[in-house]
């Protein structure tokens, strides 16, 4: 349990002590903190997506595990409904609060970012797991991408080590985003967060005051005239930054790479780097450092003094005899197996991109409100 503690209930009769000196210190500290720390958008407690992990080819009549991973921050209060395919039967779950009704299982997920449940496969056949979720601490809700399982092997999620197939690099839910900073004061670090993109954060600093700073980040295909950088490329991105006045802008870029991509391409994660393309120089590898990782991604950070075409690259790891590639061993019929989960297919195009629509809607509303207010103002003159 990781709950946000609330302030105790208070009465209004107690005299408030005024401590000007301490308050002055507090003010100075506050100002210092504001000046030295990058301005970050606070991470709201919200869940923005749910993914399902299940083996693609469970053994006939075997029990297997389905994991639901929630993307977001705690505290978490989420309602989930999973529909188990015909012929498969629900066995148990790690989630404390659930309700089974026919082939539907409802879960109340409280302060957990992952739950698992066990299902027994039929003797043969295939089926599709479907589900939906609703975040009760935000307005987000959506569908969980379908997962097809084929008893005895195969199936859409079965691509993995040794199968010979190379999975398509995951395309993030959002591939193009524009932002505007009304004013950027000299040497003030202004950061913006990006959800569901390869870039997770971009912090900008200018050496002079600039206004109307427009930022456009887009995942692109490699332009034909540009040579490929060395190594294996995970993604190409353009980051364009334009502004009104003359100034030099520098940036701190944080990005993420799926761990599945590192594994599939046997990339040494310490070699992942952000490269920037300068037409007159070629590709420049930026000093890149790994900052963290979770179950899905490894996170990196690099600094740049310019903005143009970027590539996220990695180098192949040297082959090692000590780490043999795991080979799936068929489980005898009727035995209980716990195959390593593989990620389900990417969300279908019709699935909602949680949060994105809300952002677009809010932005549209703001523009509309601004227009109305402007008109009203104009009319009042």
């Amino acid at each position: 349990m990781n709950r946000v503690s609330a302030a105790p209930a208070r009465g209004g009769s107690g005299e408030r002590r005024r401590e000007p000196v301490r308050s002055l210190l507090l003010l100075i500290l506050l100002a210092a903190a504001l000046l030295t720390l990058p301005v970050l958008v606070a991470d709201a407690a919200e869940v923005t997506g749910v993914s399902r992990h299940a083996p693609a080819g469970p053994a006939p009549n075997a029990e297997f595990e389905v994991t639901l991973i929630l993307t977001g921050n705690e505290p978490v209060v989420v309602g989930l409904i999973e529909t188990i395919p015909e012929g498969f039967s629900f066995v148990s779950t790690t989630c404390e609060h659930y309700q089974l009704s026919g082939r539907q299982v409802a879960f109340a997920v409280i302060d957990e970012l992952a739950i698992t449940y066990r299902v027994q496969a039929p003797a043969s056949g295939e089926g599709t797991f479907t589900g939906s979720w609703v975040d009760l601490l935000s307005v987000h809700e959506g569908k969980i991408a379908d997962t097809i399982v084929m008893v005895g092997g195969g199936g859409a999620g079965a691509i993995g080590e040794g199968s010979g197939a190379v999975p398509t690099p995951a395309v993030p839910a959002v591939t193009k985003v524009s932002r505007t900073i009304p004013t950027l004061d000299p040497f003030e670090d202004v950061a913006m967060l990006f959800e569901d993109m390869d870039i997770t954060l971009l912090a900008l600093t200018a050496d002079a005051r600039v206004s109307e700073v427009k930022i456009e980040v887009e995942r692109v295909a490699k332009p034909g005239a540009v040579p490929a950088p060395s190594g294996t490329v995970y993604a190409y991105l353009t980051i364009e930054v334009t502004h009104e006045e003359l100034a030099n802008l520098e940036g701190r870029i944080e990005c993420k790479v799926p761990r599945s991509w590192l594994t599939t391409h046997t990339i040494d994660e310490s070699t992942v780097a952000l490269c920037r393309y300068e037409p007159t120089v070629g590709w420049i590898q930026l000093a890149t450092a790994k900052t963290s990782e979770d179950t899905e991604f490894s996170y990196y950070e690099a600094r740049t003094t310019g903005f143009s075409l970027f590539a996220i690259t990695g180098m192949k790891a040297a082959p090692s005899a000590a780490t043999p590639t795991p080979v799936a061993t068929p489980t005898p019929s009727g035995a209980t197996s716990t195959p390593s989960p593989s990620h389900s297919a990417a969300p279908s195009p019709t699935a909602a991109i949680p949060g994105f629509e809300a952002v677009v809607m809010t932005f549209s509303l703001l523009i509309t409100c601004f227009g109305i207010m402007k008109r009203l103002k104009g009319g009042a003159k």
């Binding site: 709950r3 209930a9 208070r10 408030r16 401590e19 000007p20 002055l24 409280i110 207010m373």
Partner: protein, 405 residues
């Protein structure tokens, strides 16, 4: 045909009843045993019932329950308001009706203006100060409120002054049965200076904006500490305080401010010594009495403006009217050219932080703080409105001395 008419009449009657009906029932949604402690089990049970399509709670109520569980430790939030009433909320406050510009200012500083659904006429008249709030539905004036209009807005909370023509007890009585939490706050400086900050803290607690309240109070405390430190060892000029209607055209019964009044307190904090220190909180004095006291400075609060005048014409005219008919030529204040007109708003609610700095600057011109800068910070950082650039603003006027930005 008659059946149709009867049916339509019934329909209209039902619609009218539905138009003004109590909001959701009191208590934390999902708190099955009504013990004011929403447990994980109770929340989960509500969610599962709702997902199965059953139960009485709406999706919005389930979200409220989740919020109370996650952020309030599953308990309601309680305070005692300034009228001494126990006020408890059981779910997040989403819609608020406010009945004064002081409340509007406090709500805006807290960044909770999006919650405001109903206002009074005064707030509507200041769109520059309250760009968002001023656009909300007007439900009355400071002395008369359309309570049915308030109920129709279905607010979660109404903020009313603890005393006055329209007060919190009247509001609670008029809104009985509508499940609207009524809370009594002045949100302006009273005889107990600290009270306004206690109210601010409590309001922030109710609308979950504690961090914003702390930031503002730190800003205020910082300036107050600087002023108090600066004036501590300095000689305090004798000051006569008055206001337009209390002094213009009068040679007797001139209204001033005594201990306990807002203006008096701000003047003392700014390093002045009001000559009414031995009087009541609302003393009436004669022009001769003022001559006998011979103040070093006179300050009249006046004008229907917030923050500043765009030109000197209004304060100049008001000062001329103040002095007309009074034999104050021998006063130190007259000789020193220190009879000032300052905007009334410097004593308003949380704008008084700027008011203290402005008064301190008039009383002690070597104070190393620019009042215009404080006003700008207040507007931009806390009210989040644009400070008009490039225009000189008249912050205080004394004929020969114009304090401008």
């Amino acid at each position: 045909m008659r059946r149709v008419v009867v049916f339509m009449a019934l329909l209209v009657a039902v619609a009218m009843m539905a138009a003004v009906q109590p909001a959701a029932a009191a208590g934390i949604p999902g708190d099955g045993n009504i013990d004011n402690q929403l447990t994980e089990q109770e929340l989960a049970s509500s969610i599962l019932t709702h997902l199965a399509g059953g139960g009485t709670l709406t999706r919005a109520e389930i979200r409220d329950a989740a919020h109370v569980y996650a952020y309030w430790n599953g308990e309601p939030r309680s305070i005692v308001d300034t009228a001494g009433r126990n006020v408890t909320i059981y779910r997040p406050v989403k819609k608020i009706v406010i009945l004064s510009s002081d409340s509007a200012r406090a709500i805006q500083i807290l960044g909770a203006e999006d919650k405001v659904v109903g206002i009074t006429e005064t707030i509507k008249n200041f769109p520059f100060y309250f760009p968002t709030i001023s656009q909300r539905q007007v439900v009355g004036t400071w002395k008369e409120v359309d309570w049915e209009a308030v109920a129709r807005l279905e607010p979660d909370m109404l903020i009313a002054p603890p005393t006055g023509t329209v007060n919190v007890n009247l509001a609670a009585d008029k809104l009985k049965g509508f499940n609207i939490t009524v809370v009594g706050f002045y949100l302006y400086v009273t005889a107990n200076y600290d009270q306004v900050f206690e109210e601010f803290d409590e309001l922030a607690y109710l609308v979950e904006k504690e961090e914003e309240a702390a930031q503002f109070i730190a800003w205020h405390d910082g300036y107050l500490a600087q002023v108090e430190e600066f004036v501590a060892d300095r000689e305090k000029p004798d000051v006569f305080l008055t206001y337009t209607a209390g002094a213009i055209g009068k040679t007797s019964d001139i209204s001033s401010y005594g201990p306990g009044s807002i203006f008096y307190q701000l003047c003392v904090k700014a390093g002045g010594r009001p000559i009414t220190e031995n009087e009541t909180s609302n003393p009436k004095v004669s022009a001769e009495w003022v001559v006998a006291k011979n103040p070093d400075m006179m300050i009249m609060i006046c004008g229907n403006v917030f923050g500043w005048w765009d030109t000197t014409s209004e304060p100049a005219d008001l000062l001329q009217q103040l002095l007309a008919g009074k034999s104050w030529g021998t006063l130190n204040a007259t000789k020193n050219n220190t009879i000032y007109a300052v905007p009334w708003s410097v004593t308003n609610g949380f704008e008084h932080t700027y008011g203290i700095v402005l008064l301190a600057k008039l009383l002690h011109p070597d104070l190393p703080i620019e009042p215009g800068k404080v006003s700008q910070e207040f507007l931009e950082d806390f009210l989040r409105v644009d400070y008009p650039e490039g225009e000189k603003k008249v912050l205080a006027y004394s004929g020969s001395t114009v304090l401008m930005t």
